[in-house]
C-alpha cells in the first residue's frame, strides 16, 4: 500500500534490500550467505524510532496516562525525541527532551523545528545522567508524562507486531537478525517474535563502544541496564568500536549505495561477523540487519570526511548511536 490517511499511518512497512557486494556468498541454494538490510530510515522522521514512539504514545492514550493538553517528557540522544515530537505535534501534545549536550547539532535543530523543548544534561554524564535527570523532572512535574523508552513494553511491542512480522513475510528463510542494542526494544520485540516463528534463529546485538569520556561514571554502581533487557532473547552480543562502526558505514555507501548513520555501520560490522562465521562453517545464512537511520544527521560530526582514522578519533567522544 502506498497511500495513507496521515503521516502516522505511514510508520513501518519498510523495504528489505539485498546486499550482493557485501555478502560473503550472494547466491541461491544451500551455501548462500546473504546480507539483507531493513531500511528503517524510510520511516516518516527518518529513523526506526518512529515505530516505538507511535506505539508508546498510542498505548499511553489507551491506558489514560496521556490526555489532551499533556506534555511528554523523554530522555533521548535524538531519534526517539524527534519521532515523539512529530507524533506529539500531530496529536497536540507538548514535548520536552532531556539530551546529553554532546549530541550532534542536526539533532538539536530537528527537535527544535518539530517544536520540542530541549533540556541539556552534562556530556560527562552520558545517557545515564540524561535518564536520571528525566526521572527527577518527571517526579517534580506531575503533569509531564514520561513514556520512558528504556522500560516501556510498548517500545518492544512495536517491533513484535511490526518489524518482526515484516521480516518473516519478506524473507521466510531468515537465519539471523542483527540490530543495535540501546533501549533494547528492537532486539527484544523482533527477537521474541522471530524466536517463536523460526526454529534456530540467531538474535545478535551490536552495542556501540565509545571513548573513555562518554563513560562518565564515578563508580560501577552508577551503571545502567534498561528495564526492557532480557538476555535470554539474544544469542550473542558484540561491542563495536567507533573505528569499526565508521569503517562499515563507509563500506555501506561505497559498495552498496546506502547512506546510513553510524550505528548502522556498527550493526553491519556484527552482521558481517556472523555471516563470515557461517560461511567458514559451510552453513547457509540469510542475515537481516537494521539500517536504523540515514547519515544526514551525522554530517557535522565529520564522519564521512577525511581519513578513516581521523574521522574515528573525532567520533570517539560523541554519542553516535
Amino acid at each position: 500500500m502506498a497511500r495513507y490517511g496521515s503521516l502516522l499511518e505511514a510508520v513501518g512497512g519498510t523495504p528489505l534490500v539485498g546486499l550482493p557486494r557485501l555478502s560473503p556468498r550472494w547466491e541461491d541454494g544451500e551455501r548462500a550467505v546473504r546480507l539483507w538490510a531493513k531500511l528503517e530510515d524510510r520511516n516518516p522522521t527518518g529513523s526506526i524510532k518512529d515505530r516505538a514512539a507511535a506505539m508508546m504514545i498510542a498505548a499511553a492514550e489507551a491506558d489514560g496516562r496521556l490526555t489532551p493538553g499533556c506534555t511528554i517528557l523523554e530522555p533521548t540522544s535524538g531519534n526517539t525525541g524527534i519521532s515523539m515530537a512529530m507524533v506529539a505535534k500531530l496529536k497536540g501534545y507538548g514535548m520536552v527532551c532531556v539530551m546529553p549536550e554532546n549530541t550532534s547539532e542536526e539533532r538539536r535543530q530537528l527537535l527544535e523545528m518539530f517544536g520540542a523543548r530541549i533540556i541539556s544534561s552534562p556530556a560527562a554524564g552520558g545517557s545515564n545522567q540524561a535518564v536520571a535527570m528525566a526521572k527527577k523532572l518527571a517526579a517534580d512535574n506531575p503533569d509531564w508524562v514520561m513514556l520512558y523508552q528504556y522500560g516501556n513494553p510498548a517500545n518492544a511491542q512495536a517491533h513484535y507486531e511490526g518489524t518482526g512480522p515484516e521480516i518473516l513475510a519478506d524473507l521466510p528463510t531468515v537465519t539471523h537478525f542483527v540490530a543495535g542494542l540501546g533501549t533494547t526494544g528492537t532486539l527484544m520485540g523482533t527477537g521474541r517474535f522471530l524466536r517463536e516463528k523460526v526454529p534456530g534463529i540467531q538474535i545478535v546485538a551490536a552495542e556501540p563502544r565509545y571513548g573513555d569520556l562518554v563513560y562518565g561514571l564515578r563508580n560501577i554502581d552508577e551503571g545502567f541496564v534498561p528495564e526492557l533487557y532480557d538476555d535470554s532473547v539474544l544469542t550473542t552480543r558484540f561491542s563495536v568500536t567507533s573505528y569499526d562502526a565508521l569503517r562499515r558505514t563507509r563500506d555501506l555507501v561505497e559498495q552498496e549505495g546506502i547512506f546510513a548513520g553510524i550505528s548502522s555501520g556498527a550493526i553491519l560490522h556484527a552482521a558481517l561477523g556472523v555471516a563470515e562465521k557461517a560461511d567458514k562453517a559451510g552453513e547457509r545464512a540469510d542475515v537481516v540487519f537494521i539500517i536504523a537511520d540515514g547519515g544526514w544527521k551525522y554530517l557535522s560530526t565529520g564522519a564521512y570526511a577525511g581519513s578513516l582514522q581521523q574521522a574515528a578519533e573525532r567520533l570517539e567522544h560523541q554519542l553516535w548511536a
Binding site: Y150, I220, G223, L234, T236, T241
Partner: protein, 92 residues
C-alpha cells in the same frame, strides 16, 4: 596465555592509571585472579559475593560479551583482547 586487558577509566585507580595491562590465564576466571594478584581489589569490583559478574560490568573477549560465551569460564587464547566496560544507557 598472554592477553591484553583494557581497563575502563573508573577502574584505573587499581592499575596505577594504566589503560591497558597484560594478563595471563586459561580462562576469564584465571585471568581475573592473575590481575588481582598484581592489582589488589580489582577483582572485587567486577565479581559479586556470589561469584558472578557484577550486573553493571560487561566483559568482552575479542569484542564478544562473555555472558554469551560461558561467562567466567570463557576460554582465552594467546593474543586475545579482553575489554572491561561499565554498563551505560544506550539507545537514542
Amino acid at each position: 596465555m598472554a592477553v591484553e586487558v583494557k581497563i575502563p577509566t573508573i577502574l584505573r585507580t587499581y592499575t596505577g592509571g594504566a589503560k591497558t595491562v597484560p594478563g595471563d590465564g586459561a580462562n576469564l576466571s584465571a585471568l581475573l585472579d592473575d590481575l588481582d594478584a598484581r592489582y589488589a581489589g580489582l577483582k572485587g569490583r567486577l565479581i559479586t559475593e556470589d561469584g558472578s559478574l557484577h550486573r553493571f560490568v560487561n566483559v568482552y573477549v575479542n569484542d564478544e560479551d562473555v555472558r554469551f560465551t560461558g561467562s567466567l569460564d570463557t576460554a582465552l587464547s594467546d593474543g586475545d583482547s579482553v575489554t572491561i566496560l561499565p554498563a551505560v544507557a544506550g539507545g537514542s
